[in-house]
């Protein structure tokens, strides 16, 4: 990866005994920013307080997407993903850690992580999680529907969700997967119908040769240079949106779900920022479990954020908890590239 906007993926662990606390904390943030985020908006800001042994992870107001994330739910979920990466990196360094959910917006923290001294004798997983963090990427291609998920992997994912006090429904039967695929299709049609959503998406759907950090290049959707540019331009123009593109946008997610071995739905008992962060943490952990088991993952947010479809899904699952993170998982038929990241210097401040 030669462009600057992909440099973040070149991160390596540091030697804690040879690094200052400031550099060690910066390294932790380096792992955190490789987390998944809605629209790759990377809504986080990290306030490093090495003298207090604290890292505050904040939600940037500007990182909350007004059209697709009215409640800031996706932003907090993204924060949760970053928090989980940070904690796993801290675990690698054997740093004791504790977590406080504050759930405010920048300059106040969403999550405060308190860290102890590093102790490399403490971590038993080696670089397992760090490797998974580095290799993880969203794969929006179709998966191999003929391959089913190993039971033990599903059990690990359920355990991960339970750790956060959340519910994970794992759907493997074809009929339900197909039904959910259709709900996702219509939910996508509902969001792409809106001018504000399209305009907002247009800010983040970028041509493949982009130098930006906070975008989703077309190639991360499996799009050619030409198509990526066309979609970028179409989303950014006024007036009618090409209905074929609208159909393609909706159908690709639908077909992706149909091709997946498993649909995972993380539901929360309380629809508030603390639980959204936990859902993000659970999802990130699950995504890393998947990565370490050669499984691909993609997320579908439309069914979460469009209330009508969320209720439909809730009914289908027969749950009182609210579906909050919906993902599909399976064996990739095509590799997907990484998404770019903003320079770490732009998301960190010291106090």
């Amino acid at each position: 990866m030669s462009k600057n906007n992909y440099n973040a993926w070149n991160i390596e662990p540091v030697d804690p005994e040879k690094s200052s606390k400031k550099d060690l904390y910066l390294n932790l943030v380096g792992w955190a920013i490789l987390a998944a985020s809605s629209h790759n908006a990377q809504p986080w800001r990290f306030v490093l307080k090495p003298n207090e042994n604290i890292i505050d992870i904040c939600v940037r107001e500007s990182g909350i997407l007004p059209a697709s994330d009215k409640m800031a739910r996706q932003a907090y979920i993204s924060i949760g993903c970053a928090v989980e990466n940070l904690l796993l990196a801290a675990e690698y360094y054997g740093m004791a850690r504790s977590l406080e959910y504050i759930c405010k917006k920048y300059p106040e923290p969403a999550v405060r992580v308190a860290l102890g001294q590093s102790d490399t004798r403490g971590h038993g997983n080696g670089t397992l999680w760090l490797d998974a963090i580095k290799n993880r990427r969203m794969n929006r291609n179709k998966f191999d529907p003929m391959k089913s998920m190993p039971r033990e992997t599903i059990d690990k994912m359920r355990a991960a969700a339970r750790n956060f006090g959340l519910v994970l429904d794992t759907i493997t039967d074809r009929a339900t997967r197909f039904a959910i695929a259709e709900v996702q299709y219509t939910a996508n049609k509902a969001v792409v119908a809106r001018n504000d959503f399209r305009r907002e998406l247009g800010l983040f759907m970028a041509p493949n040769d982009t130098h930006e950090g906070r975008v989703m290049p077309g190639k991360t959707f499996g799009l050619s240079d030409e198509t990526a540019l066309k979609i970028h331009n179409e989303l950014n123009k006024d007036g009618e949106f090409d209905p074929d593109l609208a159909f393609g946008f909706a159908a690709s997610d639908r077909d992706g779900i149909k091709s997946s071995s498993l649909i995972g739905i993380i539901s929360v008992s309380k629809d508030n920022p603390e639980f959204w962060i936990k859902a993000g943490r659970a999802f990130q952990k699950i995504a890393l479990i998947a990565e370490s088991n050669n499984l691909a993952v993609a997320v579908h947010a439309a069914m979460v954020e469009v209330e009508m479809f969320n209720k439909l899904l809730k009914l289908r699952l027969r749950r009182s908890e609210r579906p909050t993170v919906i993902f599909r998982m399976g064996y990739a038929t095509r590799e997907a590239p990484h998404s770019p990241r903003v320079d770490i210097k732009n998301v960190v401040e010291y106090m």
Binding site: T186, N195, R198, G239, E240, E307
Partner: protein, 381 residues
Amino acid sequence: MRKKFYDIIYGIMRYYEYQNCPRILKAKIDSKKVFDLVPPTIYALLDDLVPGSELMEDFLAEMAKFEADELNYGVWVHYPGKDHLVRFTPKFWHRLTLVLRNSTLLSDPESKMSWKDIRNKLENSVISVAGCSVGNNAAHAIAGDIRPLHIKIADQKDYQIHNANRVRLNYEDFGRNKAIVTAEQIHAIDPFIKVSVYSEGIHEKNIADFVGGNKELSEPVSSVIIEETDDPDMKILIREKARRCGIPVIMVSDIGSAVQLDIRRFDVSKSFSLASCGIFDEELYSKRDKWQRDLANRDKFYEFAFSLIGRNHEKTPEFKKIILKEAAVLFGGVPQLGSTAMAAGGIAAEAAARLLLGFKMPERMFINKHTGEVAIDGEKL
């Protein structure tokens, strides 16, 4: 005496019954008999409307109303026959969903009219269908393509099981009046269409209302008549009345594997003969009268029929053999293939739409779906 008078005229009025007094519903409807079409209509419109278009913007505003007050949104319709309660989206959105996939396939000859103007024209037309065998297929095709706000349907007979080879029916329909069943089928998907049901068929006493309307009964004038009766007198009566009123008549005939479309443009001229392609009224009446004097004579019946529809049946060997009794006689009536009846209904609907939109149409069109042969006769009017 005075109290008795009031009881008769106004019904029994007790002191605690006043105007607009609330009435508690005694009948309970099982939830299995409640159907909600609002979400599927919303999904269909989200699927079909173009993002960023005026219609989509209007629809998103409508969707916001639904999301703001889901329980009170929409129109509830009770179907008393099955005691079903169905929730529809408001009329405009429900009917839009039903025509959206037609897109702009029906346009005017010069493609100058906007989609809205075309919908306005078609919606406000009144299509009248006499005869509900092929007519049932025509009525459904008309509802699908044209979706007018008013349809008239006439047939005095009941559906029998042997009609099921060419009409979509289920077990509940047999033994029931064809016009009523057809109306119910149309209403099952669109309760907003007014359907005038002529369950006595067309006769001398109601022909004027069927063709020319009746203001007192809020019965509109027909815009186009689809004539699918099998009664020769009725065929002539409808044409005579339509000619006097200047209303076009479309007839589709199924001839084995072929469909023949006959159009009489009485809206263009009230001096046209009743039958197309050069048959004068005198010949038509004469052949009708000859047959009526000898009703058991099948040959005379066919002579009358051929004076109305010509002799294109000679291009369909199987049909011709049956008519001329050169093939084994399986049953004693005029044979009809279901696929031909369905095609005929579709062709009738297309013709009706094109007439309404101002197209010139040939007097006669013959389409053989087996051989692919197409023949056009007469003038283009």
